[in-house]
Symmetry: C2
Amino acid sequence: MKRIITISREFGSGGRTIAKQVAENLGYAYYDKELIEEIAMETGFSKDYIEKRGEYASGTNIFSYAFIGRSPNGSSIEDQLWAKQQEIILHLAEKGNCVIVGRSADYILRNHTDCLNVFIHASTEKKVKRIVEVYGETDVAPEKRLRDKDKKRAANYRYYTDRHWGQAKNYHLCLDSGEFGLDGCTKIICELAK
Amino acid sequence: MKRIITISREFGSGGRTIAKQVAENLGYAYYDKELIEEIAMETGFSKDYIEKRGEYASGTNIFSYAFIGRSPNGSSIEDQLWAKQQEIILHLAEKGNCVIVGRSADYILRNHTDCLNVFIHASTEKKVKRIVEVYGETDVAPEKRLRDKDKKRAANYRYYTDRHWGQAKNYHLCLDSGEFGLDGCTKIICELAK
């Protein structure tokens, strides 16, 4: 039985919903916004700031903080946040059975053998349909919203882990949610966690 | 029910064995060496030559054939072989239920909705153990044998499909055979094909 399940996901693939369902089905703790809150409390950063920076920050942003955002030891706010996230995720993994969404948890917990690392993706067509249904239309074309968000996730992951985001070898299991459906993916993950 | 299952795999991951087991379990035709033979017969290339070139040729090799290996219309032997493989895979897919290993079949059949595309991978440690068990030791270190073979597969795939090999989004399902075992992977694929 896997004690920890990490779920990485493309924006619009329904990975967060699947993660929530998996946590419910298995009776596991679920960490996502909750995780952000915990980081926010510990670091004193505002919740909004962390939500934007925590997962989407890329190495390039560091330069814009060169003068205004450096601590006395010279590390950027992003670097401090990364270190803090790492610490908290390791702590949560010790605490008990859980499902963790995003935040490069697959990499942070790479040495944990009781961890199942999952990646959820879908075709652009399916993701466009989903984000318009779930989040509604905006001034920005849905294809561009998808691209922008995942580009930032990929850059952040690449910068801090030196791996390529969405590469099958980083995960035990990768699923196309457009093919299997959200409930189908939930079922597969729950069965394989056992 | 999926009529066609394509299995792409890292060298040493046991993907070929899994494919064979899936074909047996589902009562599907299995194409791998058989496919090569068919190509060989149709094209008149020797079987050995195709086995080496069919999947491992990369774009860069084309230059070495610039003078000795071009047909009157200017396409290289690799290009002709790629076109022929494509033709044969499309034909096999029409013919009946089947499992096809490698040969970029996931890309060639990308417009077939009755196709389940699978990628099998494993950690270097597990793959090293497996290739030494299955193929024995050679003068070349197993890590290098793994790297060389997959590098060629990746280059070939990239050249002809313009996609990145081993990227989760190219497949409906990616499995770590070191995590789930060969029999475990076979079971998952058979269940999801239904």
